[in-house]
Symmetry: C2
Subunit: 126 residues, 2 copies
Amino acid sequence: MPEKSDSDTFPASDAFAADLLRGHTDTIVMAVLSQGESYGFEIFKTIRMATGGDHEIKEATLYAAYRRLERDGLVESYWGDETQGGRRKYYRITDAGRAVFRGNVAAWITTRRIIDALLDVKDTTP
Amino acid sequence: MPEKSDSDTFPASDAFAADLLRGHTDTIVMAVLSQGESYGFEIFKTIRMATGGDHEIKEATLYAAYRRLERDGLVESYWGDETQGGRRKYYRITDAGRAVFRGNVAAWITTRRIIDALLDVKDTTP
DNA sequence: CTCCAGTACTTTATCTGTTACAGTACTGAA
DNA sequence: TTCAGTACTGTAACAGATAAAGTACTGGAG
């Protein structure tokens, strides 16, 4: 008889992909921006490449994050002076942003440990 | 002049603790139940101990998770026959639950890798 | 020349998990 | 008797994620 994998019978990640990165979006955007200035769509492409298509963060989610981060003074923005093509809004991380980013990375490491312990996940580093 | 730490000036984890575990609650509950049957409040205490007070998952969050898991057939419940004290609702993970749990742990490992890469977090294992 | 895919940004409505808060009910210790 | 702890439930509200749709430009394929 035909084999059925667990994931066929019990899809786990359909609705999950969303919530697994939830709460990390702002931190991820700040991580990209600590490497240097960038504009909205480029940040989107950078993250899409890093997540490899799967688990991708949607455009609308990111643009919402940009607004949130700017509202909280963690990033600053300015319009580029593109003469042709779509106008681009560039983002730059602020000092406050850098500080919060450092805190969030620390929080991630803590959270990571807690979940690893709860799920009894062994170290996966080769 | 008095020192001010980053966390004083820019509180990072006030609203975050909530969202960092978000999406993992169901998986964490199933992790506890794969160790054996348990009842609602006990699962709460187990998780509270593991998270060490910080980052704790609130009672209401867990009871919501129990209902969700039971609705989806991932856990089963029955009332204990306590003769005194509060009545206890016991939970048991189902085969479907075990399968989804395995998938979620795999998803967690993937997500973990992605976030580590994006945040450029090095391996923290001693 | 037209159509389409890609770039680039925006807005609105909706969904879901989390939580504050409140309530019920029992027990044992101060 | 009061309070802390055990044990469960329900409701309202919030915030982040996203589907969906729209605007506007560019370059290539047919």
